[in-house]
Symmetry: C2
Subunit: 260 residues, 2 copies
DNA sequence: CTCGAGAATTGATCCGCGTCAATGATCCGA
DNA sequence: TCGGATCATTGACGCGGATCAATTCTCGAG
């Protein structure tokens, strides 16, 4: 065991076992960890810890203090706000390699919940903040990540503000398709009929899209009848015509790879 | 005139006249400029320039490259996206002291337009990026600003996703009230019946709230009948009961100062 | 002052989708 | 294998707010 001082607290961690975790981390090179220098990477590895949360469990409630940050390793974390009367809106879905946490602030305004079985790699927040302050290159990566997330959030704002149910669901399918293609496969190898799985249940999709499970169901059936997709099972779909789907979403830039 | 090298370009600027501008800047201490060290502040002053844009003029279109960044000095800048069929959604309104620009990226996905007569203090983007990279404390302030903006954007996402027209308009009024109180007046000095002015026209409010000018008109009249506000003129309103307005908005934390 | 253009209000109508309710599918523990 | 629970699908209905249209208000030019 080694003892490390992160400014306002002392952390004791087994250095070897944790260092090795990052080497086998399936998402390491897509997270901000990949941009850390050698020393910072060692520190990150030392303060990291893996947590598993099963679907439906709350990780942090609104207004709670969030004393850790981290990366989603597998599964989907939902970020949501619930009004007094029970209405809820999901304001973000965090997929593997996404950064999770509310840094440089003592309380979040949104609840974090596992939308599926989830594995996250967490760091003590204060320790991570100290590390960020001492490593401008990590802070820069973090800034870029947050800027990207801000843009993505604004895109969804367009969706919620002025697109109808059909467009919202088409956009959601496209987002899933894009996330599943993010491994960076060359354009000519794109499958003509990609397959999509819903990683979360209908209720959460509805809460994210600002609609209802009934409307989602009707639209999926309607797309199936229109031969835009084929329902393999309730959660799996073969996209017969990605181009038409993109056109339907009215968000062309979300699927540049599949021309209409 | 002095000549300054910002990495990839050389800028010639009259140092004295520009330095003096920041001293008289009405919003200086609320912008990230206030956090710059002495050297950085001098650089900022040197690369800054004031631009005036009249209401309705486009500053940057979507997909354009945005070669400057800056702070809004007066007026309101709208950040929006327009779909092919003409539907438009405003994803952000920038008020005085707000930072404007799309840093560390060569093209924006949103258009910038003056929603009222506007005065902005601009910096060359590349020069500013260099300055940020060389000044971790400015980068940190920028990160905090972006994080705050991300949270604010998510709050509006809740609004667009699951709140009705009445709640949206009440929330908009509260936001204006809060912005106008940001000078930091002590709680006991709060005016019991504050006055609000719409800084932008109905069309832009509607585009921001994901509704229509007709609906806004009807809701305002309805609030007037319910004695929640008094219509001074078409753009000015006396808030008779801030507490009930907050309750109506269902976003209690937006007006903690006025208990229900 | 008048005139015309753009902005806001007010009224009438209609439709997308939320709501409620019933049925069907899947899964798990007993 | 059965029964209960959870989740998804399908149908019927109604409402909030978009749409269309007419009127009123505001303001700057002449």
């Amino acid at each position: 065991m080694a003892e490390f001082d992160f400014g306002d607290r002392v952390v004791q961690i087994n250095q070897n076992s944790l260092q090795s975790k990052c080497d086998t981390c399936p998402i390491h090179n897509r997270t901000m960890c990949a941009f850390a220098g050698e020393d910072a990477a060692r520190e990150l590895a030392m303060i990291s810890r893996t947590r598993r949360i099963s679907a439906g469990q709350t990780i942090v409630t609104e207004q709670d203090s969030l004393d850790f940050v981290g990366n989603v390793v597998s599964g989907v974390v939902k970020l949501s706000k619930t009004l007094e009367d029970g209405r809820q809106q999901i304001v973000g879905l965090l997929f593997p390699s996404d950064f999770m946490g509310h840094i440089f602030s003592d309380h979040t305004r949104f609840a974090y919940e596992a939308a599926s079985d989830v594995e996250i790699c967490v760091f003590d927040r204060k320790a991570f903040e100290t590390l960020v302050q001492n490593n401008p290159e990590i802070q820069h990566e973090l800034l870029l990540k947050v800027l990207t997330e801000l843009d993505a959030t604004r895109e969804w704002m367009v969706l919620l503000g002025c697109q109808n149910a059909r467009e919202r669901i088409a956009s959601f399918l496209l987002m899933l398709l894009r996330r599943s293609l993010q491994t960076g496969c060359p354009k000519e190898d794109l499958p003509p009929n990609p397959t999509i799985r819903f990683p979360i249940n209908r209720k959460n999709i509805a809460l994210f899209l600002g609609t209802t499970i009934e409307t989602i169901s009707r639209q999926i059936q309607s797309m199936s009848k229109a031969r835009i997709l084929k329902i393999i099972d309730g959660n799996t779909f073969e996209i017969i015509n990605p181009g038409r789907l993109a056109k339907m979403a009215n968000h062309e830039e979300w699927l540049e790879d599949y021309p209409v």
